[in-house]
Amino acid sequence: MTYVNVYLAGLVVLTAISVYGILSSRNWVKILMCLEVLGLSLIFIASLLSLSLNSISNIGAAQTYLVVLVAVDSGILGVLIAVIYVLFKKMGRIEVDKLSELKG
């Protein structure tokens, strides 16, 4: 067992805790935090598995793919923060359950 296996096991636990946080939390900021940790841990797992198991021979291409994934993740987060800010300005609260009031 190498130290990479330890990191992978820890990342799997982090992923599970993030899923737990997304499912159990009502606060938008906490959901965003868990989404960010989930994205980072999944990207890290994918990079370690693809680079270490030689399924992608070119390490530069693999890192390029992963950097692009991180950039897309950041774009999604920015859009979500903008939506939450507008929701709070219009409704005065950020609880997910109260968003049903947006129905027409």
Partner: protein, 152 residues
């Protein structure tokens, strides 16, 4: 295998799990943000430790940017929310399924760290430029939607 690497990895993993648990279970948003920051920084240290420095630098910049954005908007959204009933039978089932699916590739064989590389593929600039343009267009679109929504 160097035992120092193994001990260091165990310490980093344990502290990151503890900080994420603190962030998820804390009722105050400010404390949750501190836990989130600690967890992401520890994850970036772990990425750098596994010979992926470029990815670690990008992930650190993204994590710090996210922390600043969340910290900037959290005071105006300060609220203590009542959490859902967390120990229903569905939630442990989903988490157990995620753990099972993700832990399987790790059990296949011992995984060695990848080769150290400081360079990126030549087409990285084109891909990053394209996605940067996508993010800028998305931001302008959101700004337009917000402005039109404020008029209503």
């Amino acid at each position: 295998m160097n035992p120092v690497d193994l001990i260091f990895s165990v310490i980093v993993v344990v502290f990151s799990i503890v900080s994420l648990l603190y962030a998820v279970t804390s009722k105050r948003l400010q404390r949750a943000l501190v836990g989130f920051l600690a967890c992401t920084v520890l994850m970036c240290i772990a990425i750098a430790h596994t010979n992926l420095p470029v990815l670690a630098i990008v992930a650190l910049s993204i994590a710090l940017g996210t922390f600043v954005a969340l910290a900037a908007i959290s005071p105006m959204m300060y609220i203590e929310t009542r959490e859902r009933g967390v120990w229903s039978y569905i939630l442990p089932l989903v988490i157990g399924l995620v753990l099972l699916v993700l832990i399987l590739p790790i059990l296949v064989r011992p995984i060695h760290p990848p080769q150290l590389s400081w360079s990126l593929d030549p087409f990285v600039s084109v891909l990053l430029l394209a996605h940067g343009l996508f993010i800028v267009v998305t931001a302008f679109t959101m700004r337009l939607i917000i402005r039109e929504g404020e008029k209503i």
